[in-house]
Amino acid sequence: MLNLLTALCNAWGPAGAEQQIRALIAGYAQAHSTEVQTDTLGNLIVRQGTPGGKRIMLSAHMDEIGLMVTFIDDDGFLRFTTVGGVSPAVLYGQPVRFADGLTGVVHCEKLNDIKDLKIERMYIDIGAESKAAAEERVAIGDMCCYHQSLRQVGKRVVGKALDDRVGCAVLLSVMQQISQTPYDIYYVFSVQEEVGAHGAKTAAFAIEPHLGLAVDVTGVGDTPNTVPLAMKLGAGAAIKVMDRSVICHPKVRGLLDSTAKDKNIPHQVEVLPYGGTDAGPIHTSRAGVPSGAVSIPTRYVHTPGEMVDLSDVQACIDLLTAFLTTKCSW
């Protein structure tokens, strides 16, 4: 698991430029399925199971947040805009990496007050000595991501893009576990979740699932003086009740909950008063899809130091594997 997670998190793939991460995931998926396809928007869709069975769509997004170059100045510094939810305070001083491996560091104009820290006043320094030198390496519209390797700290891991490569790792692991299932399973590694869950919308339209599940990270309330949330690291797979994009179908919640109880899989309830997941566009696709989500509790989401507990990741894999191999009626 740790090797898989490390490979996925360290890979490069901001929203809209998922080519590298897609190729990596496709390589893993091909060992478990002969039906691996890329759709119009770039979603990677892997099919497994029994054709003619109920269609279940699992969606984990493979894109990560990033920056996009908007302007190259005369001295070779790059101005940028954000792709997805990037905080200027987190960004300040961070190394970033472009598609071809080029690295840079994000810094800011001189500020009189740290409250003036805004994206508009920040820039990326790629070490170019002139505009011409910078233009040899980057163009306007190029994207970069946090440059940080995954590290293990005790039972936990810290790194960038665990949102949502940990979900991708869960899907790949479930795929590997399952040999027999009554269902026609579609594993979707979706694009552009960080800018509005665009990929899941078109994938759901194409698949027309009978049931949809997002597998994504969720926030926690177990750090000093933070927002009051019930979720915490190490307490198991989080079964979503709602976030800002979806109120999960009670039957889907109930099925996940009873599966976890039957198999003694550690689990917790998730109510997230902000944020959204792929379950949002899935549940309103076409004539509606009963949908839910299994979430991995994560600290410091949208920073280069996101943290998850490996036991929670295992719980998510166990829960989904059990769910997908047990025939139940709905």
Partner: protein, 346 residues
């Protein structure tokens, strides 16, 4: 058909009939199949000439017919009209603007509290839109009610007399009508490729026409013609100056949060081959018709050709004729490449 005629038409979002009727007439004597859908989009289908080889992907082009405007919400006892904006208006440019109200096009002017009566703090700030009213010169409420109904639309009056300085266009509704005129020109060409041109409704209030049109047509590729906010005003930081007038159409790498960078890059290469200047930009936050079309059904490849436009949301907008000409050439070249079966990068 002429752009100056299109610019004189009235067509706030939801009230596009004048523009639609004009375009229908312009297409009457042509080989283009014309239909109007339930929401009011004008769908013009151009078939490929007989014997055209190679099936091409299904191509859809759009330009929107509607312009931002106002809707009358009440008639004040003084005979003045209160209003709410339809689409994005720039409040700073409204006071003193000439407008036309209702089907009969009753002339009016947008008024506000007289300057002599403004508090010191009010003088320093841009007046709020809800403090303004439309003055049609009525004596009182009863007088106004003989000409106006609540729910009537108002739009900016066309500029009186056109000026055209060094290839610069100027007036109201430029983003909408320039796009419409360009689509009509593409429809008039004899290209070896079939495509559907949609003149959409209700773009300014939420991209609504494009959304249902894309669902109906289910295109593989959709290209949008629309304005791009020019930021080339003196005093703007160099790194925020973008979409300069006269520097070519804008290709937005991060258009609409939809982010079809490969398709946009392909358009940039098409432009480079033909020596067409483009302004390559990254502005992911901009809402465009592509925003809704790229996630329609199973997904659509989308890109916008942006025409730099100053003073959006005001009665006097400005565009460069050369940007329009270059964009016209670029869209033709792109269609020709697709006609030849060129496959798109992904």
């Amino acid at each position: 058909m002429s752009l100056s005629e299109l610019l004189r038409l009235t067509g706030a979002s939801g009230d596009e009939e004048q523009v639609r009727a004009y375009i229908c007439r312009a297409l009457q004597a042509t080989d283009v199949d014309v239909a109007v859908d339930n929401i009011g989009n004008l769908i013009a289908t151009k078939n490929a000439p007989p014997g055209t080889p190679m099936p091409t992907p299904r191509i859809m082009l759009t330009a929107h017919m509607d312009e931002p405007g106002m809707i009358i919400t009440s008639i004040h006892s003084s005979g003045m009209l209160t209003f709410k904006p339809i689409g994005a208006l720039d409040a700073a440019t409204l006071l003193g603007s000439h407008v036309l109200v209702g089907d009969k096009g009753i002339p009016g002017v947008i008024g506000g509290k007289p300057i002599h009566r403004l508090q010191e703090s009010e003088r320093r700030n841009i007046p709020r839109m809800d403090s303004m009213m439309i003055d049609i010169g009525a004596a009182d409420e009863k007088d106004a009610a003989t000409l106006i109904n609540i729910g009537d639309y108002a739009v900016f009056a066309p500029a009186s007399g056109s000026w055209n300085l060094a290839g610069t266009l100027h007036g109201k509704a430029l983003p909408s009508r320039v796009g419409c005129a360009m689509l009509l020109k593409v429809l008039a060409l004899e290209l070896p490729v079939a495509f559907t041109a949609v003149f959409t409704v209700q773009k300014e209030v939420g991209l609504r026409g494009a959304q249902v049109a894309a669902y109906r047509i289910n295109p593989d590729i959709a290209l949008v013609l629309d304005a791009h906010p020019a930021q080339d005003f003196p005093g703007v930081d160099a790194h925020h100056q973008e979409a300069m007038l006269g520097a070519g159409p804008v290709l937005n790498a991060g258009d609409n949060l939809g982010m079809d960078v490969p398709l946009t890059s392909w358009l940039a290469r098409v432009a480079a081959t033909a020596g067409i200047p483009v302004q390559w930009q990254a502005k992911p936050q901009l809402k465009r018709e592509t925003s809704v079309m790229h996630t329609t059904r199973t997904g659509t490849r989308t890109a916008t050709l942006g025409l730099p436009c100053r003073y959006l949301g005001s009665p006097y907008q400005m565009m460069s004729q050369s940007d329009i000409d270059y964009a016209q050439q670029l869209i033709t070249d792109a269609l020709m490449r697709l006609a030849k079966g060129e496959s798109l990068p992904c």
